[in-house]
């Protein structure tokens, strides 16, 4: 009789895939990102003129509009724009990875400590976080770049400097909610150490929210990096950073439209990819992340 009443329910994975399938755009996002990563890795082999990624000069072919030879045209010193955009993917992806690595590396443990240990640790960490969050991120990043030498690595540092509080907040919130759950209380009663509970019990339980936020933030970090580059506060020419490319091309508008257009399009597509995937993952894991 029990067999009639109990029918096997589909597993969690099947349910997750059901949700993922309902959001086909996320597959588009995933493909965009995979293609971008491939382009970044294979840049020296794909780029038609790999030498143009740096300071090469070909005055004979300045400002050529898009053609078969130069699909994205050439720039003010005759470099192939396509090659430069291809090499730019390396910079943007690296920037995103480095920024988030630092932001998560700093922000996450702080949030865990604040949420789990409570008391003075909590108030000190969260007050500092509040102070950082009281300044709009891009403004703070600008202020940081002001005191540093202008180059790509310092701009990464500046962005990471403004980014960690968001992860502190996320980890803090998740820790507070997980702290009360049975599995943590059981470990506590069994005498597990606090470090063990924080990093082995609580941390693994927030990976899905974390993954979604990191995916979405990759896109935003790349945008902020490009904005700094555009303002002349990030990578300096002749580094083929996308924001810098747009900024350099802007002087020659509207006639030499191809200089700014393609680099900007590359940023757009990459960021779109991360946003689409992040949204899909949010459905997949069924979590709420701002």
């Amino acid at each position: 009789m029990e067999q009639v009443l109990r029918r096997k329910q589909k597993g969690n994975l099947a349910r997750a895939f059901y949700r993922f399938k309902k959001n086909p755009l996320s597959l588009v996002g995933l493909s965009i990102i995979l293609v971008m990563i491939l382009i970044a890795i294979l840049a020296p082999f794909i780029a038609p003129y790999p030498g143009d990624s740096a300071g090469a000069v070909h005055f004979k072919q300045m400002f050529q509009p898009p053609s078969w030879k130069h699909p994205f045209g050439t720039d003010e010193v005759g470099r192939d724009v396509l090659s430069r955009v291809i090499f730019g993917s390396r910079i943007s992806l690296m920037l995103g990875v480095v920024v988030l690595f630092v932001a998560v590396g700093v922000g996450l443990p702080l949030g865990l400590f604040a949420g789990y240990l409570g008391g003075k640790v909590e108030s000190v960490i969260m007050r500092i976080t509040d102070i950082f969050l009281a300044i709009p991120p891009l403004v703070l990043a600008l202020a940081v770049t002001a005191v540093l030498e202008r180059n790509l690595y310092n701009s990464m540092f500046a962005i990471a400097f403004t980014w960690w509080p968001w992860y502190t907040r996320l980890a803090y919130g998740e820790t507070l909610s997980k702290k009360e759950e049975d599995f943590v209380e059981v470990s506590e009663s069994l005498g597990a150490s606090r470090t063990y509970i924080m990093f082995r019990e609580i941390l693994p339980n927030m990976t899905s929210s974390l993954l979604v936020k990191i995916t979405l933030d990759m896109g935003y970090a790349i945008l902020v990096g490009a904005a700094l580059g555009f303002l002349g506060l990030g990578a300096q020419p002749p580094t083929p950073e996308w924001g810098t490319l747009v900024s350099l091309g802007r002087i020659h508008l509207p006639k030499m439209w191809w200089l700014s257009t393609f680099a900007g399009l590359a940023i757009f597509i990459t960021v779109l990819g991360f946003n689409l995937l992040g949204d899909g993952l949010r459905d997949f894991f069924d979590v709420e992340v701002e």
Partner: protein, 325 residues
């Protein structure tokens, strides 16, 4: 009270950022060719050779007097420079926010009511695009399309002729007060592209959040009860559900304002908008230290105030919070 504490922390943060970070403001300001003596004399002039706590005390005392120190570029007090440029940024950000709210909320409601149908799909694609565009790039694309090719709108600047008599510093308002209609139209035309560019991403985000909140509202017991008892659908949606949905959208609007102020730095640069943010970027580029500190502080204060207003509005809209207090 907490706000004051946060602001105090912000001043500390900015101060230490300015002084503790590797890099010598005097050296940066004078450039690599300056002699050791020149640098030392500027350090002395700026008070950089005094102990840190004295420097912070001087800095804080200046803040209370409304002095942010002299700008190395304009040779004026930074505070005066900022006051002069603040209205332009305010006008830009407020217009952009208005566009984002007035566009995003109806679009969000519409998508929620037509969930998973064509309108919703279009708005979803638009939303993804809106948050993914690099702001500076879409601004440039607008310039190419509307200014260079179609010739409909001016490329850069705030106004073509002389600005209207300064009362508020907001050209739209000032020209209306002066009954200078051509100036109003002209400054509106100048304002359109930058504010549209700045509003795109917040518009998309407000649309998505309003949509999510409205879908939640449509499922609420009270919405269903009201509809079943016979409340007209229009009233039920646009009065009863929307007020609830807007209440939760409001917190995000506070965050988005901060986002807008940050991105105004980029937009003002693209459109040569003579605002505070452009002043900030130029100060960073030219190592004008006091100006950078001033801009950051003023923005932090503004941002804290905006969040305070949002909190108050939130309490006003939601009796559950008001009555708990």
């Amino acid at each position: 009270m907490y706000m004051v504490l946060v602001l105090f922390g912000v001043s500390l943060l900015i101060f230490f950022l300015a002084r503790v970070m590797p890099g010598d403001p005097a050296r940066l300001a004078l450039g690599p060719e300056a002699t050791q003596e020149q640098v030392a004399s500027l350090r002395h002039k700026l008070g950089l050779d005094r102990p840190l706590y004295t420097q912070y005390y001087v800095f804080l005392r200046g803040l209370f007097k409304g002095e942010l120190g002299m700008s190395l570029i304009t040779k004026r007090d930074v505070f005066k420079d900022l006051i002069q440029r603040l209205p332009a940024t305010l006008e830009l950000v407020m217009t952009a926010m208005l566009i984002a709210i007035l566009g995003g909320i109806p679009l969000g409601v519409l998508s929620a009511l037509h969930k998973d149908r064509t309108i919703d799909q279009i708005s979803r694609i638009f939303a993804f695009a809106g948050v993914s565009f690099p702001r500076f790039w879409i601004g440039i694309m607008f310039q190419i399309a509307f200014a260079y090719i179609l010739g409909l709108l001016p490329i850069t600047g705030r106004i073509s002729g002389d600005p209207p008599t300064r009362i508020t510093g907001l050209y739209l308002l000032d020209s209306l007060i002066a009954r200078d209609f051509p100036a109003f139209v002209d400054s509106f035309k100048h304002l359109l592209l930058p504010s549209l560019t700045l509003s795109l991403s917040p518009l998309a985000q407000i649309t998505r959040i309003t949509r999510a909140n409205m879908i939640e509202q449509l499922r609420k017991d009270y919405s269903i009860v009201m509809r079943t008892i016979g409340m007209p659908e229009v009233v039920n949606i646009y009065k009863y559900m929307l007020k609830n949905a807007f209440t939760s959208t409001l917190t995000v609007i506070g965050l988005l304002t901060g986002w807008m102020i940050g991105n105004a730095f980029v937009i003002e640069q693209v459109f040569s908008w003579p605002g505070m943010a452009r002043y900030g970027v130029n100060s960073v580029l030219r190592n004008d230290f006091n100006a950078v500190v001033g801009v950051t502080l003023v923005i932090a204060v503004g941002y804290v105030v905006i969040n305070l207003i949002v909190d108050l509005l939130y309490g006003y809209l939601d009796p559950r919070i008001r009555l708990k207090r």
